[in-house]
Structures are given as C-alpha cells and as structure tokens.
C-alpha cells in the first residue's frame, strides 16, 4: 500500500508516533498541528487520505472537514475521544469517512486507512459482495447464498446506499437523507426499523449481524471483508 497521508494533531508525540508508524507501513507522511495548517497543506499538496484530530488549538476538526468537502473528496478519518460522540457524529455528517477512538491501536488505524483508500479507488462497482450476500446495484437484485431475496423499495434503497459506501460509516442523518430525502433527518426510528427488517431478510443470525454493522451512537456500515 502506498500513498501520501496528512496527519493533523496538536500533540507532538502523537504526530511523532504516527509519522514513524505510517512510514513503516509504506506511506509518505505530511503533518499539520492546526486547522489552518491542515487546510493549507490540503490545498498546496493534496494527500491521498487525511487523519484528522477533532480538537485543534485554533478550531474544530469538524470545521476543517466541512471546509475541505467543498472542494475535495479525499478520504478523512477523524480521531475522537470517548465522551465526544456528538462531535464525532457532527464530523461524520460534515463529510468525514470514518473515525477511530483515542487511544487506538496502530493496526486498527492502518486497517481503516486501507479501507478508506480502497473506497476511493473502487467507487462505481455495480456488484457488491460481502460473504454470501450479493447486491447487484444495476439490476436491483439481492441474494444470500445464491437464494434471491425480495426487498421493498425503501429496504433496497437503504442497502444500496450502504453497499455503495461499503465499509464506510454512514450516520443516521446521512442514511435518512439518502433514502427518504431531506426533512427526514431527525426520524432515526424509521432507520432502526428498516435496518432490523433488512437484517431479518439478509443475516443468518439477525441478533449477531455480520453484514450490516451498528456503530453505537454514530450510524451503520456495511461490513468490509478486508477488515475482518
């Protein structure tokens, strides 16, 4: 795996550890310690992915994310801490692709980073396969272990959004907006009901979902085979 990663954090020792680790994993590494520095680095020398701390001395990572999304689709992984769930969800809604919670293992961060970079490449696939689940986005056909499954339009809409963003964490607000349209952002219960219906039709054991995963307090994602 190769590519250039911009790491944004104001803790010098975290920068130091990430720089060495990412270099060891074969990435080039740029660093920034402030929101302003991050936006400058992003504009001057666009990286392949961004690792972004949510708390920066001159602003919030969420604002950097929002600003960045007006002109770039570069994958963004935010670093959050337990107790700041709202900020994490705000960052995801503002366009971040994924998050890891401090303190994190380097393996976990590297896996998320690989998934984020791969999504950037693999966009536009018409067939998504996860284990025995097969979703044909063009033919609107879904099957589990070769057996076709009938889905309602909303169920399929939900699965399609998840499949297109395979491995990416999608917040409640994003899913509601994509499937039901604007104005439904706050209706999380719709989502919970449809996700549980989908799981009953798709999952071998709906109580222990393997395909549609819940990120507590944040949203849902479709399982990404590589990260298992």
């Amino acid at each position: 795996m190769s590519g250039r990663i911009l790491v944004v954090d104001d803790e010098p020792q975290i920068l130091r550890a990430l720089r060495a680790s990412l270099r060891g994993a074969g990435y080039e590494v740029d660093t920034a310690e402030t929101a302003e520095g991050a936006l400058t680095a992003l504009a001057v020398n666009p990286p392949d992915a961004v690792i972004l701390d949510l708390v920066l001395p001159d602003g919030r990572g969420t604002d950097v994310c929002r600003e960045l999304r007006t002109w770039s689709r570069v994958p963004v992984i935010v670093l959050s801490v337990v107790g700041d769930e709202d900020e994490k969800v705000a960052a995801l809604d503002a366009g971040a692709d994924d998050y890891v919670t401090k303190p994190f293992g380097i393996d976990e961060l590297l896996a998320r980073l690989r998934a984020a970079l791969r999504r950037g490449e693999g966009a536009g696939e018409s067939v998504v396969e996860v284990g025995e689940l097969r979703v044909d986005l063009e033919k609107r056909a879904v099957s589990v272990a070769g057996r076709p499954v009938q889905l309602t339009p909303h169920e399929f809409g939900l699965l399609r959004v998840l499949a297109r963003n395979r491995g990416k964490l999608l917040t409640h607000a994003m899913l509601l907006r994509e499937v039901w349209g604007r104005g439904y952002d706050g209706e999380s219960h719709y989502l919970h009901v449809y996700v549980s219906q989908l799981r009953r039709k798709l999952e071998p054991d709906p109580a222990r979902p393997r395909y549609i995963l819940t990120e507590p307090g944040a949203g849902y994602r479709l399982h990404d085979a590589e990260r298992s």
């Binding site: 803790e11 020792q13 975290i14 130091r16 550890a17 990430l18 720089r19 060495a20 680790s21 270099r23 060891g24 994993a25 074969g26 001395p57 001159d58 670093l79 801490v81 337990v82 107790g83 401090k102 303190p103 994190f104 293992g105 380097i106 393996d107 961060l109």
Partner: protein, 477 residues
C-alpha cells in the same frame, strides 16, 4: 378649691398609664387652679358693669381647656371649684355658700353639665387620636418590617431590630424575638407569633409588662404572617444556595473528569500507537523511526507520571493534607533545582539573582515545584526562543521571585481565574499543554509555605510574582 391632695385619688383610677397620669397632674392641677383664679379675677373686674348672673358663663373658659387637655376628672373638680368660687365671691349673700335665688342653682348645674359633656367629648377625641396614632405606628412598623425583610436581610440580625419595633408598638420594654416556638425564661412572658397552627416566632417580654390585648390581637398575627413569608423565603434561598453549591461542585468534577480524560488519553494514545507500531512485524521501520517510537513512549510515559502527580498534589492541597517541612534555603539553589526539572527548554530562562538575598524559610521540594510550574508555564505560553526572565528581589520580610515571559499575558479577568484548577488563559490557543492544574498547585504550595503568589500587570507579557517568607533573623551570624 381643687387641691393637690386630690391627685392621688385620680391617678389610682387609671392603672394602664399611671406614670403618665401622674406627670399630667403635676401640670394639670396648678393649671386648673390657675384657670379658676384667672376667671374669678375677670368676673370681679367686670362685676360693676354687667349683671352678675350672666358673668357666671365665663367659668366655661376655665372648665373647657381643663376638660380638653386634662380629662373629665379634673374638669369636674374645676367646675365644682368654679361654682363654689362664683357663689362665695359674687352671689348674694356674698362670702357665704347660701343661695338666695333658685335661678343661681340652675346656673351652677349648667356649668357642671357643660364641664362633664365637653370633657367627655374631648376625652373621646383624645382616645381616638391615640388609637389612630397607635394604628399608624403598627402599620408603619409592619411596612418597615416588610420592606426590610423582603429586601433580603439576615434573619438573625433582623430579629433584634424587629423585637425593638414590636416592643415599641406594644409598649413593652426589653422585648426580644426568637424564631420558632420558644419557652419563656423565668420572669418573662412569651407572646407566640403563629399563622394558623404553625408557630413562626415568639416575642418575649418582661412578665410584669402591661399588654394592651386589643393591640396585641391586631398586630401580632400581621407580624406573624409577614415573618412566615420571610422565613419560607429564607429557607428557599438557602436551599437554592445549596443546590448552587452542589451544581458547582458537579461542574468542578466534570471539569476534572474532562481534563483527566484528555490529559491521560493523549499520552496513552501516543504510547499505544507507538508500541503497536513497534510490535507490528509488517511495518518496515528504519532506525530513526524506531528511535522516534521509543522516544515517544518514554516521553509520554513521563508526562503521564507528571499528570498523575499533579492530580495527586491537587487533591492533597484541596484536602488540606500538605505538611511543609520548612527549612532555610538560599533562593538561588531553589531556582537552580527548579530549572533542572524543567529540562532542555530551560535554556531559554535568564536568571537574575541578587547575591545579598536572604535565605527563605520553606519546604524546598514544594517551592521547587512552584518555581518549576511557573517557569514551565512561562515557557509554554510564550513564543519559542523568546526569553523567560526569573528575577530574585530581596526585601526585609519577604523575598520576591518574578517570572516574566513575552507571551500574550493575561486579561484582568484571567489574572485571578488562572489559579483555579482547569483554567487556562484564553490567549493560550497556541500552547494549551499541561494538565491545567499547574498554577493551582503552585498557589496551593505557596500558601502552605506562608507565601503569596499573584500575577502582575505587564505590557511585555505574563508576569507572576512569588513572595516567600524570609527567616526572622539572619542565619550563621
């Protein structure tokens, strides 16, 4: 004539205000006698020119004022005295009390009737005036109490003033007021102030004091109702205060937890990431990277240790469990040791010592912490490579250590707030590192050692002054 020996009899009739009546009689009896003498003289002067019987009406001028000012008793005496004087001096046969004509009897009866009626009217007016004044005093007292109490004064303090006020209205000497139901002490009588069945307060007065029951029945319930409102309000206020105190302590705990979680998690994150990278066989780490990862682990572990130490110190200081071991120390040694603990950054510090500075009487380890925290703070909040000055200034009773940086300085609001735990200056955006308790700990240790720590206004930047006590007598001489 109405004599002074009549006075005791009159006074005995009135038990409510015996003292005031006696004082009145001292003026009243001579005045009454004077009035009778004066009118008799006037009648004598007019006697040759006017029919004597019509002149008798002049005695009304003696009876009327006495009735108005001194009451019925004296007025009746004056009218009898007037009648006798008129009879004796002017009615034939003169210089006897015999009356030749029955018409004279009639005249005398009229004078007497006039005296009684006028004085009764006057007395009634006087009673009404007194009553109105009493009610006005009560209303005034209640209004004053209401405005005072509702303005929110201290209840216990106000009890003294209220007792005086109530004593004044009820004409009770030495009254005191206590909240709640109180048993009277020996020699006291208790007047309960209650709203319905709920006792609010007790007014305690001298047992022998005369109480006007009517006034008491009217005034005490009103005062009790007022006090009940205020007592309730005061209880609510103290409940609100307690709730506020709890809320603040919760806010402090939340701040503590947030600070602790941030300050512990940041180093942990670096350590965990670095250790994970070192342990991962798939990563191809060069010697530099390996060294960087190991360095990050070492330094962040040391930082964790400092954070934990700071938190422990803070909790000991807040619990008052700091026990300084005070000895005499030269200031330059304390500064040198503090600089050592600051590390490489200490190279930016310019030390200005005074060779004549007296030694200070402090716990060396604690004051070293204070200095290290002050210097560390100055280094963190000033631009890189700008100097930090530590200046030692001797005084007679204290030694002052100034720590001056070229950072953004502090706003007036921050200058005191910065010594509270988990507060940082707002201008600190560039370098908000550290646990946020360093200055709180510095002040805690300083005060435990009998010193003072404050910030001083300085256009150049941050300016902290540490004052430490010097030994009472010079040592080694």
């Amino acid at each position: 004539m109405a004599g002074a020996d009549d006075a005791p009899r009159l006074a005995a009739g009135s038990t409510v205000f015996p003292v005031r009546i006696r004082a009145d009689l001292l003026v009243g009896v001579p005045a009454a006698a004077g009035a009778v003498v004066l009118v008799t003289a006037a009648v004598d002067v007019l006697d040759p020119h006017v029919p004597i019987l019509s002149l008798g009406a002049l005695y009304v001028f003696a009876v009327l004022p006495v009735a108005l000012f001194f009451g019925t008793g004296l007025a009746v005496l004056v009218s009898v005295a007037s009648m006798l004087a008129f009879n004796w001096f002017f009615l034939p046969p003169r210089h006897t009390f015999h009356l030749r004509e029955s018409g004279n009897w009639l005249a005398l009866t009229v004078y007497l009737g006039t005296a009684v009626v006028v004085s009764a009217l006057a007395a009634r007016a006087r009673r009404r005036r007194q009553d109105a004044e009493q009610r006005r005093a009560e209303a005034h007292a209640l209004a004053e109490t209401a405005s005072d109490l509702l303005r929110g004064v201290d209840l216990e303090q106000e009890a003294v003033r209220l007792a005086e006020l109530a004593g004044g209205v009820l004409h009770l000497d030495a009254a005191r007021l206590e909240f709640g139901e109180v048993a009277p002490a020996p020699g006291e009588r208790a007047l309960p102030l209650a709203v319905g069945l709920r006792p609010v307060a007790t007014l305690l007065a001298d047992e022998r004091a005369e109480l006007d029951e009517g006034v008491a029945r009217r005034f005490l319930p009103a005062l009790a109702a007022l006090l009940a409102v205020v007592v309730d309000r005061s209880a609510l206020e103290s409940e609100a205060l307690e709730a506020e105190a709890l809320r603040r302590s919760d806010a402090l705990k939340t701040a503590l937890l947030r600070a602790v979680s941030h300050d512990l998690r940041s180093p942990l994150t670096a350590i965990l990431a670095a250790a994970g990278a070192l342990a991962n066989p798939d990563l191809r780490l060069g010697p530099d990277d390996r060294e960087a990862l190991v360095g990050a682990i070492r330094e962040e572990a040391a930082r964790l240790d400092r954070v934990v130490g700071d938190l422990l110190d803070l909790s000991r200081l807040e619990a008052g469990a700091v026990d300084p071991h005070r000895e005499l120390w030269p200031a330059d040694e304390l500064v040198a040791r503090a600089l050592e603990s600051v590390g490489d950054e200490g190279g930016r510090v310019i030390v200005e010592l005074d060779e004549g500075a007296p030694p200070v009487l402090v716990d060396a380890a604690q004051i070293e912490r204070v200095l290290a925290n002050l210097i560390g703070n100055a280094l963190a909040f000033s631009p890189p490579r700008s100097p930090v000055v530590v200046r030692v200034e001797p005084g007679t009773t204290e030694l002052r250590v100034h720590v001056v940086d070229r950072g953004p300085g502090l706003t007036p609001a921050e200058r005191e707030a910065i010594f509270r735990p988990f507060r940082r200056g707002t201008a600190a955006a560039g370098a908000p590192r550290g646990s946020g308790v360093g200055l709180a700990i510095a002040r805690g240790f300083t005060e435990a050692n009998g010193g003072e720590l404050w910030t001083q206004e300085d256009v150049a930047g941050g300016h902290f002054v540490l004052a430490l006590p010097v030994a009472a007598r010079p040592v080694g001489v």
